[in-house]
Symmetry: C2
Subunit: 301 residues, 2 copies
DNA sequence: GGACATTATTGCGCTTTCTGCAATAGATAA
DNA sequence: TTATCTATTGCAGAAAGCGCAATAATGTCC
């Protein structure tokens, strides 16, 4: 028993058992170990904790005081240890989530409500933003993002599901400007771009038959960092937009928007969950991810 | 750093320094030791305490909670350790003393008062009794006794001073029964015996010239376990008593008692201090003994 | 009063663990 | 991409842990 805490535990066992041998038996140690532990503790403190002969062992005043004050401390440590263990296994604590704005408003209500019902002990904090945040610095437990291949290597991530996107425009716009039947036509159209501050969007269409990829040079007449507004602009005859299906499903169904070049595949993007660098994900994060995954497979994204 | 307490201290240092290397430098350890300590603690708890890459280190929720709760515990342990150390060096606490009854009433007031003035932080508890108590069982810190060579080996003891004794009788008694001039005469006298319950007293007189020892077979007409009462009985013409000088000094000076066979030496007895089995005596006991010794050398016992 | 039984301590060898150094892998900034 | 800083891991030497056996001390029983 090397550390001080272990020595204290041995000391308390001796005080409780009233003898070194009995304590050794209780602890499953050899009597010599017990002697050494107590002797080392005493010499570290510079105080004798027991008055002892080979026949009687009694606490000194210092020892009595030491035992009385250490006892609650030791059990407090055990309680704190258990509390820490509970973080891994129990569903408790706080979960700070970051998610894309439009995705959040269109999709998150149901799974979050389900999660909260299932695990009322977990406090949820959801931050909707399209900015790519530093998950560590902002102290998120999890960030959902819709993007291509993650470049960030410092965090761990997990693709949840591919998000289908379509080029869409309103019937009115297509009537006025014609419907493109080839990607090259797009350069003459008004394109509506999702743009997150600095980075511009590049549309890249893949021929469904040959598999050839066409990087498109579009002219963006309107750019915005919010998909909902882009969809509304497209519906208002402003041009062609590349938007996730979950944002335009209603408009498509209602005929307010039509798919453009529906055969051509746009670059694949995924709903991806990012986590801080954990060896093993805490249970709460695991469960939340499971909730999202379940909701995603039910509804078609 | 093997023990859990040491691991916790390393963990807190890392949390405080915000990095493993910085913490290692602060603690004077190698970074690898710090890594191992934290890793071992984490695996013992089954919880990750830090979210970490090679560039950033941040507490997990579990770690944050752990640090916050452990911090006061660690400092409490340091405080308790210091408190224990203080027992060895500081003059504080409680001192439970046992002393012979008559010795106590005749002699102890002055040194005790002096001691209390010098060390007001020490609570004194004095138990006057002539019974030989088990110092461990009765939980005394010190027992003063007046006796021959100590037979008890389980305690440590220290002769403080020889206590002179004299055979004394009243002038009236000696007038009636004659003054002994040889120890053999004592067998025809009424002898007053100090007797502590079971054990009878044996008078043994040594010839001051030849050094020959005379075991005396006395007839005890009166026995008592209290020296004061014996002295009063002697003064009341009841016979010859063997009593410590400090008990009969006044009576001798006043002529109420006279020395009998003053040249013959009685068995030597000492004022002796007994202590529980300490390797090193706590400061308070040391000081109290010193007080008694000082008082003893001043006054003639 | 003496032998016995019990208990704490200590010496010793063996095993385990710990430590630091050097090499490696990972992550951020220029 | 390169350079640099940091956490981690492999390894070998060092230190400490452990139990066993022997010793010493002490209380008890006869």
């Amino acid at each position: 028993m090397s550390g001080q805490l272990e020595q204290i535990k041995v000391f308390l066992a001796v005080a409780d058992a009233g003898g070194f041998s009995r304590a050794a038996q209780t602890l499953g140690l050899s009597p010599s170990s017990v002697t050494r532990s107590v002797a080392d503790l005493e010499s570290a403190l510079g105080v004798q904790l027991f008055k002892r002969t080979t026949r009687k062992v009694a606490l000194t005043q210092a020892g009595h005081n030491y035992a009385q004050r250490m006892l609650p401390v030791i059990s407090e440590i055990a309680r704190i240890d258990d509390g820490a263990r509970a973080f891994q296994t129990d569903l408790q604590g706080r979960l700070r989530i970051s998610a894309p704005l439009s995705f959040g408003t269109h999709f998150l209500a149901a799974p979050i409500a389900a999660f909260r019902n299932s695990y009322p002990g977990i406090d949820l904090s959801v931050n909707l933003t399209d900015r790519f945040v530093d998950i560590m610095q902002a102290d998120y437990d999890m960030a959902l993002r819709i993007s291509g291949a993650p470049s960030d290597l410092s965090t761990i991530w997990r693709k949840i599901k591919q998000v289908r996107r379509s080029l869409v425009a309103s019937p009115g716009y297509l009537e006025d400007h014609g419907t493109p039947v080839d990607p090259t036509h797009l350069s003459t159209h008004a394109c509506l771009s999702y743009t997150n501050l600095a980075e511009g969007e590049v549309w890249e269409l893949t021929d469904p038959i040959t598999g050839a990829t066409h990087p498109i040079r579009q002219t963006f007449r309107f750019a915005c960092n919010n998909g909902d507004l882009l969809a509304q602009m497209a519906a208002a005859d402003q041009g062609i937009a590349l938007l996730p299906d979950f944002l335009v499903a209603d408009a498509l169904a209602a005929g307010r928007l039509l798919r453009v070049l529906p055969e051509w595949q746009t670059p694949q993007i995924w709903l991806t969950a990012f986590y801080p660098p954990y060896q093993k994900l805490p249970a709460a994060m695991d469960r939340f991810t499971a909730c999202i995954e379940a909701a995603v497979t039910d509804l078609r994204l």
